[in-house]
């Protein structure tokens, strides 16, 4: 009985098989990462039985976008590039301006007694507003909050907001709560 080795398998077509699989995966899959602006909608209220809570005028920062994608910020013609700065100034109210939101002293962990501004940002758009413009405005407003939070985190903890512990992040969120209220859109711009 002569010992016979295992017969060699012809692997010449292996490359072809691998190529076939490779091409299949190239065609059937995508590489893009899903990213986007996270927002939360207010819950649905069937009828307007409850009156919305009264908000003082000085506490509200109004942003209107019309059908021609123009901005009206606090009753002034506005530019999207300045929106973030204006919103930040309004939310923070560093000089206690009487036209800007009032502050209430609140007890906040890590900070102790801290004056928290009663700000609300009100955003209203037209049915004819372009989605791109709407999203850019939303982005600027969210960015204003995020920058303020980040600045406070650096000042208080010497670290970026994203690197803080959850309890610290929550404390900062209590000082700068994100309040962006969206009003029902108007239909002044004419056709849909």
């Amino acid at each position: 009985m002569a010992k016979r080795g295992i017969p060699e398998i012809n692997a010449g077509s292996m490359a072809d098989i691998a190529f076939l699989l490779l091409i299949f995966f190239l065609v059937a899959t995508t590489m893009d990462v899903d990213s986007g602006l996270m927002r939360r909608l207010p819950p649905w209220i069937d009828e307007k039985t409850e009156k919305p809570p009264e908000v003082k005028k000085r506490n509200v920062f109004t942003v209107l976008i019309n059908a021609n994608n123009q901005l009206l910020v606090q009753n002034e013609w506005g530019d999207i590039r300045q929106l973030r700065k204006k919103a930040k100034e309004f939310i923070e109210n560093p000089k206690d301006d009487p036209n800007m939101p009032e502050k209430k002293i609140k007890d906040i962990p890590f900070f102790g007694k801290y004056p928290v501004s009663e700000q609300v940002i009100s955003l209203q758009n037209d049915r004819g507003t372009k989605y791109e413009m709407y999203l850019k405005v939303q982005n600027e407003l969210v960015a204003a909050y995020n920058e303020l939070r980040n600045e406070l985190a650096l000042k208080k903890f010497g670290k970026e907001y994203s690197k803080l512990s959850q309890a610290q992040q929550e404390a900062i969120n209590m000082i700068y709560p994100q309040r962006i209220s969206e009003a029902e859109p108007k239909n002044i711009g004419g056709k849909k």
Binding site: F25, T29, T30, L37, N146
Partner: protein, 157 residues
Amino acid sequence: MSKFKQKSKGGAPKINTSSMPDIIFMLLFFFMVTTVMRDVELKIKLRLPQDISEAKKIEKKSLVSYIYVGEPKPQFQKIFGTEPRIQLNDAFAKLSDIQAFIEKERAARPESDIPFLTTSLKVDVNTKMGIITDIKQELRKANALKINYSSRNKPKM
């Protein structure tokens, strides 16, 4: 003379291709790991907004349902017109279908995951806000409150 004879006979030397499958497999595994399966075939023109600095990466893709909005692609324009339309899964849909769609998405997932479900709105930049507002109202009625406005830029790490 015989010294040189052999050389001129040789022709191009054969390249060893035995490691080719290994190389291709490596590429294959790279693509298998880094990519995800294409989920739907788009029937609309979709150009997502760019330069959204506050965009965040969606962590759990299994908890996301997608709503596409945009102008139908040219081959569908004869039937569906050029006005922006909603696409759910692989078909065009009406506004009234959204609530049923959300219910179906919820039923397909374990109950413990339902509060974390996110609806991702993939909307073309040229769409008017009217239709988006209507969709948002439908989502509020369906109590799907976590939404994500999809954008194209790379998220911050």
